[in-house]
Amino acid sequence: MDSAGEVVNDGKITLEGFSVAARSFAEKWKRLNLSFPPWSWVPLNNRTLLKKEEGYLSLEKIIILSSLDESVEEESLDVRADWSEKEEAVDHTVLVQDVEDEAHYYDYHIVYSASYMVPMLYFRGYSSDGKPLSLEVIKRDLPSSSVSLLLESKWTFITQEDHPYLNRPWFKLHPCGTEEWIKLLSESSSFTGCQMPVELYLISWFSVVGQVVGLKIPHEMLI
């Protein structure tokens, strides 16, 4: 039975739960993940959608410098953040290591799927002139562990679909079996009765999903 404060046992989350989890995720990220700009909550205030708490999380203009040198020491990406509040002018003074590096910009949206009752990650990449990046180019920006995961797994794959609210093609990460690994995450933790508090749902979810696209969250967020 899903009551207000708990995540349902089967690894899914309600719309209301998603809003709560999103707030908690964004707040912890802002506090503990200082190498990135904060996520913003984009309310769905389109005329025909008046439910108060509906919206999605947005993290935009994350720069990934794709160097021509293939040998990256670790799996983590060289990520610089181009922070700008929406109202301010975009600041492009980014640390560029190497003149040959080409800056790729990424936007990430975490959107609730009412059908599957889990979050979905939408993302897109573009170069500094705004031209969209193809999936081939994007794959080169992903950690190499992800690429093999994508190619051979039944867990995740990337498809191109219309963004549910923005009428543009975005890439979507399909974590089929999301609710299974959320269930595993709740069972392997010390939560009472294996029920994860809803506030931690998105953090747990992102700890897996984010890694596929090279976004790591600090361990402190999971506490």
Binding site: D10, R47, T48, L49, S115, Y116, E161
Partner: protein
């Protein structure tokens, strides 16, 4: 299946839109320009599936190069994954027969349309929608995943060819279940106080309502109109609100859950007789001007179309779902609303 249900399904599968397809003038490389091609498009089908009928008419007129095919209606690029009948109901307030569309073989607008690699893309979209519908109805998509590859192929082929007989033979293999089954199954589950289902379909969690796959397409106008011809054209997809979310079907004793109830559950600001604002935060609820009734502040549902039929909103929703859904088990609803005025 009851006799009238059989009739309804036939009606759906036989429904078609006459199209008049014009080659975009920038791609006419022959003189004289080719005349438009006339095609009868199945309502439950998809535009890319018609290309093999249309291309022969135009191939001699095309400039050299590779094809990347897309359609537009009065300049609006058409989303190929929306069934043709739904596009027609949504974009043509006053039905235009034949429906004049423009076909392009070059210059795919990939900034607004997701890519389409012909029949494979359309099939993938269909199967995906079927899985999503299954997930909504059953709580998982095992029924679709457990279908053999051949059965899935045959199912798709039956839809592609508009072969209702083949589809009817195959649909028991999908094991989808309709609303009535859902309610009696859940009733028996709660009465036995057990999460072990005795039926083939498994349920996730204890849910008191049934979830119905619905795709809602909402067009909004700001002024009242006398005739449908006066409804302004759509220039971009941003003018249409697309809601892909299930309807929670509430079953209460002595009450009938109508089509109106279903739509209002998805569009709460068009509910009943409450005055609503246009949603600006902090504005609160404005009151209606009573004096001469001319100051309208509430939004209003002007028209609802499903499978080309203008629906009376008091029809029981279960009938609508069971009879008017598409082969992938989704109910596509086009709604024209008058937006709330400030």
């Amino acid at each position: 299946m009851a006799a009238n249900e059989e009739e309804a399904v036939k009606y759906i599968w036989e429904g078609a839109i006459p199209l008049q397809i014009h080659l975009h003038k920038s791609e006419v490389a022959s003189h004289p320009a080719p005349p438009p091609s006339l095609v009868l498009a199945p309502r439950i089908g998809y535009l890319p599936l018609l290309v093999h009928l249309i291309k022969p008419y135009f191939k001699d007129s095309l400039p050299p190069g590779e094809d990347s095919i897309w359609f537009d209606y009065k300049g609006l690029p058409l989303k190929w994954y929306i069934p043709t009948g739904v596009l027609f109901d949504l974009l043509c307030a006053e039905p235009e027969r034949p429906w004049n569309l423009t076909i392009h073989f070059r210059g795919y607008p990939s900034n607004v349309l997701i890519p389409c690699e012909g029949e494979d893309s359309v099939k993938w979209n269909f199967v995906n929608s079927l899985k999503e519908a299954a997930y909504i109805i059953n709580g998982n998509c095992k029924n679709v995943m457990n279908m053999s590859q051949n059965d899935q192929e045959d199912l798709w082929t039956s839809v592609m060819n508009g072969d209702l007989d083949a589809y009817t033979r195959l649909s028991p293999k999908i094991k989808m279940g309709n609303i009535e089954d859902e309610f009696s199954r859940k009733a028996s589950l709660s009465s036995t106080q057990s999460t072990q289902g005795g039926t083939e379909i498994e349920v996730a969690g204890q849910v008191k309502t049934a979830r119905i796959p619905v795709r809602l397409y909402v067009r909004s106008v700001s002024k009242d109109f006398e005739n449908l011809e006066d409804v302004p054209e759509i220039d971009t997809w941003d003018e249409i609100s697309y809601l892909n979310r299930p309807v929670e079907f509430l079953r209460e004793e002595g009450k009938c859950f109508t089509l109106r109830d279903a739509i209002e559950s998805l569009l709460p600001e068009y509910t009943g007789h409450r005055a609503q604002t246009s949603g600006e935060e902090g504005e609160g609820i404005t009151t209606e001007e009573e004096a001469d009734g001319s100051q309208e502040t509430r939004g209003e549902i002007k028209m609802v179309r499903i499978q080309g039929i203008e629906m009376k909103l008091e029809i029981p929703f279960s009938w609508v779902v069971n009879n008017l859904m598409n082969p992938e088990f989704y109910l596509h609803i086009s709604v024209l609303v008058k937006a709330p005025q400030r």
